[in-house]
């Protein structure tokens, strides 16, 4: 596999840091060099969250250069649009169909962009955009917090790494009590990608 630079973005509280941690561990287990770093800002919840994951034979910088991202994994639509300029031309985007309005939208000082605008922004860089109903599927599974494993399942669909390695790494990081539900979420993510609304 040639280098893969992945950018995972979303809203604080969506489980992005754990998902990108596991992605890093999967890459290591598959024999690659890997670096990952999160940009969290100050808050525990609610702010914009960004995880850089770099996989290659040798990685120097933990931060991905703007315009070098191969796969953008967005847990929320506005965040997908915001970080789309990090993609290289012809990149891939996986976008969870969820709108979480920031405070400025709720307070009426700013407008949440429409679906067409978001897709248009992504389209400037991305050749393939997978829209997945991750939040709905997580609710169906019984816990919104399984969204991150659904998204991880989606990512796994695009990387040439054996599914068993993914499951191994997931089971090392999650407690037994919640493992079954999260494994189902991971499978659900893979399934979603094969039937995703590819645009």
């Amino acid at each position: 596999m040639k280098k893969r630079d992945l950018l995972m973005v979303g809203v604080g509280g969506q489980g992005i840091v754990l998902a990108s941690d596991i992605l890093g561990e999967v890459a290591l287990a598959a024999g690659y060099d890997v670096k990952k770093t999160d940009t969290l800002g100050m808050a525990q919840r609610g702010g914009s969250v960004l995880s850089h994951v770099r996989i290659a034979d040798k990685v120097w910088s933990p931060l991905i250069k703007e315009g070098d991202v191969d796969v953008l994994v967005a847990f929320e639509k506005l965040e997908a649009a915001r970080w789309s300029y990090y993609l290289h031309a012809g990149g891939v985007a996986i976008v969870n169909n969820q709108s979480t309005p920031p405070l400025s939208v709720s307070l009426g000082t700013h407008r949440y962009p429409g679906d067409k605008e978001i897709e248009g922004t992504l389209r400037q860089r991305a050749d393939r955009i997978y829209f997945v109903d991750g939040t709905d599927k997580a609710k169906e599974l019984g816990d919104i917090r399984t969204l991150n494993m659904i998204m991880l399942g989606c990512v796994s669909f695009l990387l040439p790494i054996d599914a068993d390695i993914w499951k191994d790494c997931i089971s090392q990081r999650l407690s037994r009590k919640i493992l079954k539900m999260n494994m189902a979420a991971f499978d659900k993510g893979r399934e979603e990608m094969s039937s995703a609304n590819l645009r």
């Binding site: 809203v11 604080g12 509280g13 941690d21 890093g24 561990e25 290591l28 060099d33 890997v34 670096k35 990952k36 770093t37 999160d38 940009t39 969290l40 800002g41 100050m42 808050a43 525990q44 919840r45 609610g46 702010g47 914009s48 990685v59 120097w60 910088s61 933990p62 931060l63 991905i64 250069k65 703007e66 315009g67 506005l78 965040e79 649009a81 915001r82 789309s84 300029y85 993609l87 031309a89 709108s99 979480t100 309005p101 920031p102 405070l103 400025s104 939208v105 709720s106 307070l107 009426g108 000082t109 700013h110 407008r111 949440y112 962009p113 922004t121 400037q124 860089r125 919104i144």
Partner: protein
Amino acid sequence: MKKLLSGNEAFALGAYHAGVMVASAYPGTPSTEILESIARFDDIYAEWSTNEKVAMELGLGAAYAGVRALVSMKQVGLNVASDPFMAASITGINGGLVVIVADDPGAHSTQNEQDTRHYAKLAKVPMLEPSDSQEAYDLMAIVFEISEEFDTPVLVRSSTRISHSKSVVEVNRSRAATTKQASFRHDVEKYVMLPVHARLRRPLIEERLVKLTAYAETFAYNQIIKGERHLGVVSSGVAYQYAREVFPEASFLKLGMTYPLPQNLLHQFAAQVDRVIVVEELDPFLQESMLAMGIKVSGKEFIPRIGELNPGIVEEAGYRAGLLAAPLRKKADLPQGLPGRPPVLCAGCPHAGIFFVLNTMGQRSKLLDARGKSEKEGKLIITGDIGCYTLATYPPLRAMDTTACMGAGIGQALGMEKAGVGSKVVAVIGDSTFLHSGITGVVDAVYNQAQVTIIILDNGTTAMTGHQDHPGTGISARGKKTKAVELERLVRGIGVEDVKVVDAFDMKALRAAVRSSIDNPELSVVIVRGACSVRLRKRSGPRAVDMDKCDDCETCLKLGCPAIQKLDEQVYIDVTMCAGDACTVCEQLCPKKAIGPLTAIGAEESR
């Protein structure tokens, strides 16, 4: 064995393997996880100290007693700890003393971007800088030896991008089997810094520096990596990774020790290449030192001195300096007009209610324009502090006028009152911050008969850094029950007579307590108590908006609760975020009684 570790985890594991016996810290992003990680090991004493000064003194005491000690903090923490740190330099140590300080270029989570390397020069102690997690782990094996060999505390500089990046670490050591037993050797000329003793120690410090400089010349982590002759890059820390990626052909002198500098090695490197540049984050620390050595070097002419670097910024600098050919591909346009998503107080945050009260009582919505500036003096002046609650500065709460550093709000309030401002001054401070450095401010207020109101927001944790315990919680860094310091007894003990404790989620009680306190011409303290919502184990009874009753007055939105959202002209509550029965603040506020439990209102009416 290969492991994927953050810089902070690698520091902790490396220090543990180096036989550290005592570790102390006060939480501070991005350094917090060092102590959290080391506290998981059994055969080590690890504590959250009251503040960085105490942490440093504790480390120093342990080192005097002959064992290895690790003290960790963020860069501004070293300001708090600088007094004992400077003292440690002059007395020296016995067991190794290592101080890890995490800088925050870009000020991701700090009030400034100070460059800790200046402290090494100020204190005349060695400074080491790892450039990834492997080096963070490896250097820990060496720094304690340097400390003991040269009788000095050792500074290790991390940064947000070292501390909070994970990279692969080959773990090839285990805990040193024979660790020294603590024993203190009486030696007043070394440990009692009376002026007469300090003058005796002073030449030793200069001798130490000369020896350290010689050591730096052959230090294995000061390393020349031969590449092409046309460009030589001197770099350290994470900046080295960016430079290596951007200038793959260049020769490098990678410095693992950035103070004192290896003068001969630097001259030798400069002679091997046609042009020397320095790629360093923040101040031109290396560059100025090299210029003073008479080496022709550039760097800050094209590498920014403000903010965090990244490969893109270093590449741009390479174009400007004529080191790289201009790029072929076009950069994407930045998306325009998207609403930002700054950090906010969480749904169910115990701070939301009290700031709503301060906002309305101080009529602050009228006071500030969109940029937070106003010519008018408010009905209340609110001096703030460091913690999640600093976010109440922003709309819609807009209830904070100052934030400088830990504990500063109380002293600032006293200063404003004594200066004679017309408005009532209220100081707002969190529980952990109060214990860190607010107590002495209250002592001053009692002694000098201040008339301010001090509001202590007690959420029972150090929330912003990720929920560390503190003296007020009575739980240790290892999760064991200890003795809690009770805030109300503490402030009463200092001599405050008007002390109220009020439930953070009871809006009526909050309003009454604040009103009576600001009306009191004497000093008053209000302790607002309510658990941090992130720590809620079980959530029940999410609230909903009854659309038949809601008249769209938007009062609930003025709380700034992220669960209360408005999209497509409709206010609704995100049930997956709402803290429910534990909070109910929006329900208490709604003038139309349109908010209630989802079970009572029903999903149909609510959305």
